[in-house]
């Protein structure tokens, strides 16, 4: 692992900016900084978001686990709960549809000139994050811990070998993309 680089704070600030620039470029080129593309996905009429996300996970999952096999990266997968992940995910979903962007694509949309994303969405995200900081001490040991998931990773959950799960997941995700194309979606 490149531990020296990871500990170099100023290098990491620059890297954060560079990763952001590349990420924003790819999000815009992929079409997902567009309001109608995101709403189209949520209305199940345009599958660009799913195609882009699955392609990212298909490539990233293979790459990440190969790098991990050679000791170059480490896992950051954390345990979760129904109280945190399911409830938070559903609250997120309401905002996702209302705004028409997610926290990354809202910044991308703002970069393409969408002022509703800049002055509405991004300001709202700041307020929402601040509200969560207010309630955090009250929910930290309560609802956020309710209903812990039985395992951290899918291989642990299924009690299967890591590479078996990676291959099954890859086949499954490629299968979804093939089905989408065959249905002309």
């Amino acid at each position: 692992m490149l531990t020296e680089l990871h500990k170099n704070r100023s290098a990491q600030v620059v890297l954060g900016l560079l990763f952001g620039i590349c990420f924003g470029f790819l999000l815009q080129k992929g079409g997902v900084t567009n309001f109608s593309v995101i709403e189209g996905q949520l209305l199940l009429t345009d599958f660009t978001v799913l195609k882009l996300m699955l392609s990212a996970v298909i490539v990233g999952m293979a790459g990440f686990h190969l790098l991990k096999h050679f000791g170059l990266v480490q896992s950051h997968a954390a345990s979760g709960t129904i109280g945190s992940n399911v409830i938070g995910g559903l609250i997120f979903g309401i905002g996702f549809a209302l705004l028409g962007y997610c926290p990354g694509t809202v910044a991308g949309a703002a970069g393409t000139g969408a002022l509703d994303a800049l002055f509405g969405g991004m300001v709202g995200l700041l307020i929402g994050a601040g509200l969560f900081a207010e309630v955090y001490p009250k929910v930290r040991t309560g609802i956020l811990n309710k209903g812990p998931f039985p395992a951290v990773t899918v291989p642990e959950f299924l009690n299967l070998n890591l590479w078996v799960v990676v291959i099954l997941m890859e086949v499954f995700m490629i299968g979804i993309l093939v089905v989408l194309e065959n249905f002309g979606l």
Partner: protein, 173 residues
């Protein structure tokens, strides 16, 4: 190469594969997943620090997610710059207040759209921190790591989003 960079859209498979490679590079070079919602906590904390340093530093959440200009903060200005470059190269950059689909359903009033976007942003900011990540942090990078919690969360993002979008555009709209 240059004409390709100025195309209006790429295949989502190509852009997605690029994001997959980028995610691997972030694990390799920065030892972290590419996530976007943490930046909003940090930015909110920095604004709080400007108003009252003492009050902000006392808050438990800002002791866990320390307000600072670091990797997790810089991702958002980076995305804005990257998307601006991409849209300027293809001539897609244009200043707008109301997306056409919104306008057809809820009217062209910019104030209505601004309030809708603001409310959406609040839910998004609150929900992403409640769930501990966003479409990128959980949806892409958690799934890459085969995190069970992240995959469940990603399904809930879309379950909630699909329900709300149908309510907005099919039932009310």
């Amino acid at each position: 190469m240059v004409p390709y960079l100025s195309e209006a859209v790429w295949s989502p498979y190509v852009a997605g594969a690029g994001i997959g490679i980028l995610s691997c590079l972030a694990f390799l070079l920065s030892d972290r997943p590419i996530g976007c919602s943490t930046a909003f906590v940090k930015a909110r904390g920095l604004i709080g620090t400007l108003i009252s340093r003492e009050k902000t530093e006392k808050k438990e959440y800002y002791r866990e997610i320390v307000p600072a200009v670091d990797w997790a903060f810089m991702i958002i200005p980076g995305i804005m710059i990257g998307a601006a470059i991409s849209s300027l190269l293809s001539g897609q950059f244009h200043v707008s207040w109301v997306p056409p689909l919104w306008s057809r359903t809820f009217g062209p009033d910019p104030l209505v759209r601004l309030l809708g976007a603001l409310a959406g942003g609040i839910f998004l900011g609150f929900g992403s921190r409640w769930a501990g990540g966003c479409t990128s942090g959980h949806g892409i990078n958690g799934s890459i790591q085969l995190s069970l919690a992240s995959m469940v969360t990603a399904c809930c993002f879309f379950a909630g989003g699909i329900g709300m979008a149908f309510l907005m555009f099919r039932i009310l709209g």
